[in-house]
Amino acid sequence: MQTAMPTTMQTKVAIRDFSLWFQHQQVLDSIELTIPPNQVTALIGPSGCGKSSLLRAMNRMNELMIDCRNQGQVLLDGQNIYQPETDVARLRCRVGMVFQKPNPFPKSVYDNVAFGLRLQGERSRRRLDEQVESALKQVGLWSEVKSRLHQNALTLSTGQQQRLVIARAIALQPEVLLLDEPASALDPISTLKVEELIYELKATYTVVIVTHNMQQAARVSDYTAFLNQGRLVEWAATHTIFTQPASQQTEDYITGRFG
Amino acid sequence: MWTRQSRDCFSRWLVTLVGYSVLLAFAIIFVFLVWQVWPLFQPASISAQSAAESSMPYSYQVEAQRRQSGSSGLLWLDNGLDERVQLHADGRFRWYQRLDGDWQLSLQGQLALSSWQAAVLLPGSRTLLVADQEALVHSWFRLHQQLIDRPGIPLHQSEVLALIPLSADTFFSLHPEVLHWHHATTGKRLTELRLSDQPLQQLQLSADRQRMRLDWGAGQSKDYQLHWQHPAVAGGQLWSKVHYEGRREAAYVWQTAAAADDSSPRLSLVPLTSGTLKAAAYAMLFATPLAILAAVFTAFYLPERWRHRARATMEMLESMPTVILGFIAAFLLAPWLEQQLMLFFVLLVLVPAVLLVCSGLWFHWRQRQQKQAEQPGAVLVLSLVAGILTAFMLAPVLEHAWFDGSLLLWLAGQGIDYQQRNALIIGMAMGLAVIPSIFSLTEEVVFQVPASLTQGVLALGASRWQTLSSMVLPVAAPGILAAILLGLGRALGETMILIMATGNTPLLGFDPFEGMRTLTASLALEMPEAAVGSSHFKVLLLAALLLLVLTFLINTLVSLLRLRIRQRYQQL
């Protein structure tokens, strides 16, 4: 692995020698990666190379899949999240996640955003209202849905649904936000909105985004990591990777010669 | 503290517990039945008992000394109730019967042997047992004014000291050094007791025949406990032919209310099992071709919308309560069939024939017009109706011409007994009940055959039917087999139709014009009356266990086949 990073940078999430197996197939192989706080880190790579798996490793969603096993450490603020005494539910509140396809619950817009808050035991109607409003405002959805907060969320358009799902995640005020190809199911205009949103979000949150769209990675991210076949090939500041990649593989990939 | 974690934990435990208890429920059903049925198969036994606790008086005793037959001349035997036999040493006998308080001679003659060692009349029965010199106990019983011979019971030793009656169907044979316990009806030896070589003086039995004391004289005696819970099945009567007292030959008999109070019920499961198999066989005979043909047509030829409707209708039919089907069968179908038997057979032959002819004509005509000869549509309905109408018109004519106007009378003339509630009725009624299960599964597996497969064959220029027969059906075969088995499982377990429309007589054989009695019908009708713990009760539970095991095997097979077909489809 080749890195060209200042060694003294701050760390939000640190992945140390992390390997992952699904059944008997090795999906990730000794990954070493540092996610700096309040920055957008993009994971790129050909499909099936393990980007989503790496993302899921950061909030332990992999273990909801069939039969997986892992080795190594993922440190969130210096704490290994794979320690047996970790409260997984609490961890997932701190590390929020948004999926490729929007998956709102078939409840009202309001209930969707309030879902996580209610789980945390928030009962006060007033505070719920406030937080729902602020989350929806952050994703720029408030003006669009404030008149139909109590309509079923499935009546929104796909782009709105995706932003709703992001709002649902940030309503919990997570520290890290994981986005797994958040714009791949959207039309160009919605994609643009989501990208703008990501750019704004990094002021408050640490963002990790998986994408297979080079331009998108170039547009929104500060750092980029390139994975191939379960290995981290290269990790650097985005402009470095896109202008002077250290590895031949990376260059081939970003210039579209493979994958 | 009721935190989120503890709630999660609690939920997990609760749900897991319930999940396991389903397994538990199934296991309990199985284990309970086995546990209840177990005593039926426990062999009779004689176990020694400490002498101290057996101080109660014994009411029955036998001198265990060798009778000098021939010298003393004659012997009086008594069944303790209403029969007495005077037996001479040379085999002559006089049989007396008590009628209204007097003893009357009902039978006399010569037994088919010239000398004998011991004889006994079993208590409460009419069976005379006589041990000859060649280690054989002859068995006769009186039926009205006749003596009926039963198969002899072989002994293991030719020297017999005494035959000791124990109950209406078991007795001891006492030999030097050994006591054997026999089942009189089946001749099976139940158990044996080795004795010391000292000559036995006395054998005493308690009134309830649960205890026995052997006395060797000189104050030397020993007590025994006799264990025999279910004499009605102990001799293997469940599955073999038995020559019961009062019958002229050996047979499989299911007769739960015994004639005399203390003789045991006759519990052969053979007629019931054969009834169940017969009913299921006729139902499958009727249902399988119809259901499979209909399902194949639905899955392969019908357009999507009609396919959905056909499936939904079949689903409704599946939920039809069988009590309604049974009642229709018994009160509508059975009288109709009795009157229109000829019509039934004519329909059976004529309708397919007319259909075939029409299809040929149609095909020919379409070919002359040079069109595709596939969806026949209205023509088909018309020819079906035409076939049925022709049958209606033809049936009386044929009946007149061939059977002098009445098929029933003709059958009776041939010695064939036509019962109104018979296997044909069951075939149709229960067939209708199992058609939906066979239909649904067959339709599903045929429909799910991967399209890539069928399109490949169609692309080679095969007709739809050729695709079906050469590709789809072979691939779907395990699924269709599973469907048939599923239907069979349902037919074996069906009850109400069988109670209502079989006539419920336990008959053997596969005669289509006779009724039957099935395991399920016996269970439903007899269980409420059977005394808890009696042999009858336990044999009914055994029948239930039998059905359970049978359906278990069938269902397991069905699951395996379905798994197999799913894997096969995924590979393709």
């Binding site: 969603m61 539910a89 609490r90 997932r92 509140c93 929020g96 999926f99 998956n103 619950f105 078939p106 879902f115 799902v165 649902r168 995640a169 | 609690f10 749900v15 999940g19 396991y20 389903v22 397994l23 429920a25 309970f32 119809l290 043909l293 209909a294 047509f297 030829y301 939904a312 409704m316 039919l317 939920s319 039809m320 009590v323 089907l325 049974g326 009160f331 309708v351 259909l355 299809s359 040929g360 095909f363 000869a373 088909l380 309905v381 079906l384 209708l432 007709s463 050729q466 377990g493 009850t495 109400m496 209502m500 269970l523 439903a524 009914l540 539970l541 239930a544 059905l547 278990f552 069905v558």
Partner: protein, 455 residues
């Protein structure tokens, strides 16, 4: 010819007609029950048959609703004309007219007196006769009582006191509208009244009520159990042999013949469990059993066991159709597994559970064989639910529609008379079950559409 065979034309024809036959038989069956069941209440015209010569009539097969058994000895008979072939023309030479050949070699003179009356008594009997003008009779009898003067077949006029009469009508004078009114009234009476003593007349209210109470009790028992078991199998169970075993036992439970379940219910629930309950809590009433005898609770429990797989399979199907993304979304928001299941999965799969429940209820309502063993009786003196403490009497025996049908059809002394009543009971039972199934079917359709929307 060879081409005809090779192209499979005969098989297509045969299989298409097999499908037509199956569906046709089903439809015919439904139609038959519907028509016959409805006919039972339709006030058909009354025809009086006058025997031209004295003698004891022989009843033919097709005679139904003969006015009274005792009349068989007289020379007049009443028949309900249900329009199936009885007419004046036919009756002129009845011996050869086939369908209504009811007296062998005896001449019949049918007529339809306009004052023919059909009287339903409170005790369940039905009388047929001619109504006499009250004024005429009073002159001879010189006393006025409220009631109905009737001339029953070949008897002197009798007065039926008004309090004995439940309803009466003059079938030969009714207009179509009036017939409709009588029809509805008779239906109402049938659905709300108790059967008369001999079972073959009167209403079926206790049977409907018993069926409902039993089925509801069963639903209460089976629902939580079935749903939790399905949740276990689909959400919690690890993929191992034990889970496979549980799954197998669910399928095998579904395959157990219902009568075997009834046997188990009787031998285990009633005799073993009920017997122990009696010894523990009702020792003072022994040897008279309280729970150690078939009753409502055991019937419900047995059927709950029988329908458990139905609920499990339907629920599991619903769970497996719910997109996985819904669960992941919930987990990603920091929900525990319990919260995901109870707040996201279960509410969305609820219609599937309801479907399972309805199917279970439909199955239970149609079962008869196990119920014969564990608690249904031909006539129960008391309803299982009443105003006496503790209101629901779990130990009581009860009546059931399906068993009532069997009982009326097979055990009633006068099968021919009971027949049309049986069709009416069958119609009620069938309507109930088909409605339940239809609603389950529609619910499932809707659920599938909804999931397709989410996904």
């Amino acid at each position: 010819m060879r081409q005809w065979w090779q192209q499979g034309s005969p098989w297509v024809w045969l299989s298409a007609s097999a499908l037509l036959l199956c569906l046709g038989l089903f439809m015919a069956l439904l139609g038959l029950i519907a028509v016959k069941g409805m006919q039972h209440f339709w006030p058909a015209p009354l025809v009086q048959f006058q025997l031209s010569e004295q003698g004891k009539p022989q009843l033919g097969r097709l005679v139904r609703q003969i006015s009274d058994r005792s009349e068989a000895a007289t020379n007049r008979l009443w028949l309900l004309d249900r329009g199936d072939g009885l007419s004046k023309e036919n009756a002129e030479s009845p011996a050869s007219s086939g369908r209504y050949l009811l007296l062998e070699a005896q001449q019949l003179l049918p007529e339809r007196p306009s004052n023919a009356v059909l009287v339903q008594l409170h005790d369940g009997r039905t009388l047929y006769g001619t109504m006499l003008d009250a004024a005429e009779v009073w002159q001879s009898q010189e006393q006025a009582e409220t009631g109905l003067w009737l001339e029953l077949a070949s008897q002197r006029p009798v007065l039926l006191p008004a309090e004995d009469i439940r309803a009466y009508w003059l079938p030969n004078q009714l207009s179509l509208w009036q017939r409709g009114v009588v029809f509805c009234q008779e239906w109402r009476h049938f659905l709300t009244a108790a059967p008369s003593q001999n079972q073959s007349a009167g209403g079926i209210f206790p049977a409907i009520f018993g069926t409902l109470v039993m089925v509801l009790l069963m639903a209460v028992l089976v629902t939580p159990f079935g749903i939790l078991a399905a949740i276990y199998l689909h959400e919690y169970a690890p993929k191992n042999w034990l889970t496979q075993l549980i799954r197998t036992s669910v399928y095998n439970l579904a395959g157990i013949p219902s009568v075997v379940m009834g046997i188990f219910g009787l031998a285990f629930f009633v005799y073993v469990l009920g017997g122990s309950l009696d010894r523990l809590f009702y020792a003072d009433q022994l040897p008279a059993p309280t729970f150690g005898t078939p009753g409502l609770f055991w019937a419900a429990l047995t059927l709950a066991l029988l329908t458990l797989p139905v609920v499990i399979v339907a629920t599991e199907e619903g769970l497996s159709r719910l997109p996985q993304a819904q669960r992941l979304g919930s987990f990603a928001l920091g929900a525990t597994q319990a919260e995901t299941i109870w707040k996201v999965v279960v509410p969305q799969a609820a219609p599937a559970m309801l479907t399972g429940l309805i199917l279970a209820i439909a199955r239970a309502a149609g079962e008869v064989a196990p119920l014969m063993l564990v608690g249904v009786v031909k006539s129960a003196p008391q309803l299982p639910v009443d105003m006496q403490f503790p209101f629901i009497h779990l130990e009581r025996k009860f009546m059931h529609l399906g068993y009532h049908l069997y009982d009326v059809g097979f055990q009633s002394p006068d099968a021919e008379v009971a027949m049309s009543l049986v069709y009416a009971i069958g119609l009620v039972l069938l309507t109930l079950i088909l409605l339940l199934n239809l609603s389950a079917f529609l619910l499932r359709q809707r659920l599938r559409r909804k999931y397709r929307l989410i996904d």
